[in-house]
Symmetry: C2
Subunit: 328 residues, 2 copies
């Protein structure tokens, strides 16, 4: 498969890396986009990588902490052609480099890619050129027509096998500081809801035909929609962790996402598609910071275990990376 | 106090009454704006009544089911002047008429007003003319500057006693049908979140100085912010009640409101201001319909009992009209 990149551009001075805001308590931190997948739980043969552009608000603040939509699309090919047996690489900006070739070959065929900043697109393209089964689709979750276009492209690429895993991992925390309380603008909450709540819904809606195609093939095993949430979205946890990160727009958007997960689970139950919210933990990424207790590998291994063990009985749940059922 | 009405206009052919959508199971129904308050739990001396304009979407659908913001503002006057001892009338469109004068006198001094449709503004004005302690402030919760203006007016009117009860009861369900599932537009969810989630936050933020003024006066008893929520906003309830009303934008907005209540409770805890989410039950209003099990009087009596018994330990909770603690 040829490497494609529609509309990607190198970073400019107006498109800078974004430093994430994070809040912490023991084991808790608001963070996004930290999950790598590196496993063979399905016969993943290629991956779509998506990216969002980065912009500053009129007030000069970063309006988007996490510039990507990480749409992890892992289509199933029961009998992949030889060139599809190569792994798909999935990395993060902080260490956007392919693993050593030897380990790639050993761990074939599945990796997962997460790109968090537009500014890394050049690296991404270089990476994609190295691995011809990587496909890049530009996407902006704020732009509904962009989602439709990307979904159509994904539909073509996924073929008859459909799409068996969608990870909605776009995330934004529009707040300036950790102790911002009421000091946010309505537009902050509107942005958070648009990216963190509506984005996953629109993505899932647009990809429904491709997801259903996978679900109908019993040989695919499972078809799953993962909405990356956070313990900051647990309403029950607010009283205990509020002082560690009030972030009202973010919290509202993640509680909204949890409700969306529960609703989507009901919508997709009859199709046998599992949908749930996943808290990936506080991970040592560029957003999570170096104080985070979990390495990327640890978080990924745990998340994969959770995903791997899911059954349709788990649809509509809110789970932590360690499998714990979290309160709404 | 003189009756004021800023910007109210009589209904026109393009401003029609809205028929509400409601969903039901035993005792459960999505509904708004049904709660009357008719009691003497505080020395309420006047009431602000707010209204929103009604509009149709470009698709010809009603984009707003419930056209009002019901901002129930009940300021405390430890020693109200004689003309303030008259009751404030609070009614609903379906029966927007004052109770008999004799019962008014007996039940002095507190009633609560809820106006659900712009089209009733003429009636409202007539009512306000009858009772000079009723004050009408026009307000649109979608218009942040309108909220600021209304809050300033409220600040003046509330005086030194401040505001001891704010009921954020604006509500909208932008959906066309009860079985709409994924068939909503992003704008439907954006509207629901703007009115149902952001509206109460913006109202509370704007009225903070007036609320705090009340909270500082120990003679005021309690200062409370009530966010009118719904069991449709309970994420835990989704699996059991989804088929009775999927309403994804509405549910997301109410889950978001519940998170907002929990966050606002933490913001206001140090001030001694109680903030909570209240499910008013399924009530026989024009929105609830005649099949609803609760009369207005029953719902109000129950809600009042809940409000009356609140302590600061209840701040941040999600309660039903019958006092039951609801799951998030």
């Amino acid at each position: 498969m040829a490497v494609k990149c529609s509309g990607m551009a190198p970073p400019t001075s107006s498109r800078q890396p974004i430093t994430g805001h994070a809040t912490g308590e023991g084991g808790y931190r608001v963070q996004e986009g930290c999950v790598y997948i590196y496993t063979q739980i399905w016969s993943w043969t290629f991956v779509r990588i998506t990216s969002l552009s980065v912009s500053r608000s009129p007030l000069g603040r970063w309006t988007r902490e996490d510039s990507l939509l990480e749409m992890w699309m892992l289509p199933h090919h029961p009998s992949p052609p030889p060139h599809h047996s190569k792994p798909c690489i999935v990395c993060e900006p902080a260490n956007l480099k392919p693993p050593p070739a030897s380990s790639l070959l050993k761990s074939s065929p599945a990796f997962l890619l997460s790109i968090r900043a537009w500014c890394h697109s050049e690296e991404l393209q270089n990476l994609a050129h190295q691995y011809p089964n990587i496909e890049i689709i530009k996407l902006d979750v704020e732009d509904w027509s962009s989602i439709e276009t990307a979904a159509k492209k994904a539909d073509e690429l996924c073929g008859k096998g459909g799409l068996n895993l969608l990870v909605n991992n776009a995330g934004v925390n529009p707040m300036d500081s950790l102790k911002s309380g009421f000091h946010f603008q309505p537009s902050d909450m509107e942005l958070a809801v648009r990216i963190n709540t509506l984005g996953p819904i629109q993505m899932t809606k647009a990809l429904l035909p491709v997801l259903r195609r996978s679900a109908k093939m019993t040989s695919n095993g499972k078809t799953i929609v993962v909405n990356i949430s956070s313990t900051a979205g647990s309403i029950k946890h607010v009283a205990s962790n509020y002082k560690l990160g009030n972030l009202i727009p973010y919290r509202v958007s993640k509680a909204g996402l949890n409700m969306a997960s529960a609703c989507m689970a009901e919508e997709l139950r009859a199709d046998g598609i599992i949908c749930f919210s996943l808290h990936p933990g506080w991970v040592r990424t560029d957003m999570g910071g170096q104080k985070a207790p979990l390495s990327v590998q640890e978080s990924v291994a745990s998340c994969l275990k959770v995903i791997k063990n899911l059954t349709i009985q788990d649809t509509g749940s809110f789970l932590s990376y360690d499998g714990e059922v979290l309160p709404w």
